[in-house]
Symmetry: D2
Subunit: 255 residues, 4 copies
């Protein structure tokens, strides 16, 4: 489903934007559907709609739509499953600090490690193999940094060095989404655009300063041996706990 150049771009940059993957009618319908669902507000000025496929047949169908699944399959290349489905509707003064990155650190009780296998990816014989791929479907246009644009660090999906902790150690406790960084870049989108993301990319969003909502749907896919996404603080004593343990993210460090 992805062309050779789509694969080149996804491989070298860690993401791919498909312009106009969904038309205006669909965007309208998805926005209306969200209005019917209830949300939590985990972050300031941010509504989160969880478990979309359980609460909405429309979104249940969308999670299986070939425009999304077909593209995800081309970069996962494993029998796969849906790991999570949620929406975010954000208003002025919301933000999302940087997270991801291929070599950020994770403290375990007796050691610090520099790989998170839940975002491992590799290449073999003409195919990309990603463990965790997110499909973002934008229901708002985001045309400026003030609209809270998606931003990322170039090449961070294949980074060999960690970045965040070293900065924190030096006392640089402000987010790169505010401060900038030589390799920080933005993606601007229209409603209906699809962004296919290798979760190994270090990414976040700028601080939203403009009026109007910033709304998107997110569907994550991975191989069939992965559990549904849920946060886990760490290994449990009975070694039966399931979930995803975050390595360093900006949220751990910035004020």
């Amino acid at each position: 489903m992805l062309s050779d150049e789509d694969l080149y771009v996804f491989d070298t940059t860690g993401f791919l934007v498909v312009r106009g993957a969904f038309d205006a009618d669909e965007v309208r319908r998805f926005r209306a559907e969200l209005d019917e669902l209830s949300a939590t507000e985990p972050y300031a000025n941010t509504e989160r709609f969880d478990d979309l496929t359980a609460h909405s047949p429309t979104f249940g169908k969308l999670a299986l739509d070939d425009r999304v699944v077909g593209r995800a399959r081309d970069v996962i290349n494993q029998p796969m499953r849906l790991l999570e489905a949620y929406a975010l509707r954000r208003q002025r003064h919301s933000a999302l600090y940087l997270h991801g990155g291929y070599a950020e650190l994770l403290d375990m009780p007796d050691r610090t490690v520099g790989r998170d296998l839940s975002i491992m990816h590799t290449y073999h014989d003409g195919r990309i193999y990603c463990t965790y791929v997110k499909a973002l479907i934008y229901l708002s246009a985001i045309r400026t940094q003030e609209d809270g644009s998606f931003c990322y660090l170039h090449g961070s999906h294949k980074a060999n060095f960690p970045l965040l902790r070293a900065r924190a150690r030096r006392g640089e406790r402000r987010s790169l989404i505010d401060e900038g960084f030589p390799t920080l870049a933005d993606v601007f989108v229209e409603a209906g655009d699809l962004l296919l993301l290798n979760e190994a990319l270090m990414h976040g969003t700028r601080r939203k300063l403009s009026d109007g909502d910033r709304t998107l749907l997110a569907f994550s896919y991975g191989p069939t041996f992965l559990v549904d996404w849920r946060e886990l603080d760490g290994e449990t004593a009975d070694l039966r706990g399931q979930g995803y343990v975050d390595h360093d993210v900006e949220e751990d460090f910035v004020r």
Copy 2:
């Protein structure tokens, strides 16, 4: 817990044998405990005891024993969980064909792929990261090929080429455990020995031809985002199916 040389051996060969990890009393106790449990017979002359930790406090405790878990952690280096716990008690004329291998093929409905991310492993900054590690605790001595020794292909845990399908295509439908191969090797053990295995290694056992049982306990560990081991035929239509889809193994091919 593993020494530098243990790590060197595990990294370069895909497994590590810890001689006498458990003493004769423990072996006796584990064997007695198995006698209390019920088994299925999935293969000829082979009893399988499933879900050991659910049925036996002794084995529940063993699954958390630092002699096992501590070593597994040194080659997984992620917050981890127990993925399966079972025992096999095999008699004369049982066998286990070769499976695993880092580049064997898997047919998906519309493509063939050459990586199985459930057995991915990598190295970064002084640490090995394995997705699936099995700890085999031997409760019988296996001193000859006729005892059904563990056998494996040298270096297959890092193989770049597939092996099995090419053989099958040429009509070579007998198992390498019978035929041999230039790089096929055996491991001989005593009761109480522990074999720590990177599941990416292509391995199996020789055909057991001697009297007496061949009994072992197996505990598998992996990162916390992995589901319990269960076989899955392939991706399910609702993309919610969970499990492990096997790539090519000898069982698919040999007569």
Copy 3:
């Protein structure tokens, strides 16, 4: 000599710009020194000064200057040597098509290959290992694309897929330096800036359309077992020929 963030940037992007590495006096002196040397004109509107260290003590010293060598060493991490030293002075209507790229193809008499070991690079235990590193010292400011800016494809130093031949096959025989590409980006510099380049990055320059010269010095470094740079058409019959055989570059394809 490179900071942690310098290494992060070089690793993730394939190059590093050191602003103001040389001061205005030095730039003036280097420009004056070039005026004393003779050049060839291998491309239209482009003078090339070869073998700088043989013809100029000033440049001989510069090739060993720690500001250049120290930085190159931090990304080569091998006992090293100087592989070439040249300057380019370009005028209006000069251009440099894209070359490099980590997975572009090379035809050998009986096979096509997708790696060029002369630009291999890897990472191990906290260090980057590059085979071929070029240090570009700019003696002119290049502030716009019309000045013939250095341009490159994001992440192409770690590309798993080839790009150029597929385009040529489709008949797309215009250079990306004119056409653009979603991941093509520019670097703007001042005189005195140093650009440290992993030769595996696909890079070139825009077509120079502005007045004034575009002048730079280039010093290439690599491990001591590499021969001096010279172009070689291919393996010689006596297997004694020495040199560098180019894989696909835009020059092979564009009109």
Copy 4:
């Protein structure tokens, strides 16, 4: 020229033995040819015949023989050249300590590094790419360890950890060729056999204790951008020195 299984074996083990590559007449002719050449004695009980192709048309032709070159090409996959051609004729009490290994350490004046790019190898899209490949043509049978058999550490051509220095630090200053190691293995050959070797494998020979000579021819191949083999102590001050700087080998450590 190499079959799929040859490639599997070379990839997974780091070498390949081709039985009977040269017939008894050829072996006789090669031995007679050596008798005409002069040798040095760089090690006890070991004659070394250097630069074979310069001194013997027979060996000049052999260095280009497709049985050797064709196989080397299949694991180098680059335009290539001959890097060295020599013979060793060894007698009782000669030995060759272990050298090679993919992650052994090298001290540079200001840092220690863990990769030697002159023995780098990788895999991409169905092909192996080796930087340094040696073809050993045996002119004597070596049927026991006492004959001074070729020995190697399993999987050391892809080792992620260093081995030798850690041992030396602990005061273990005897060679593994005498002491053994869990993963040390031997190769036994007949006269006329060819051993194709990835130089990244840690290898050496047992101590020769039997009567009769142990004679072989060695031809090394690599990409065209490599200099002829010569030992270099380290980077030269003018950055023009050419050659190969050894990382840790047993010879540095054993008594």
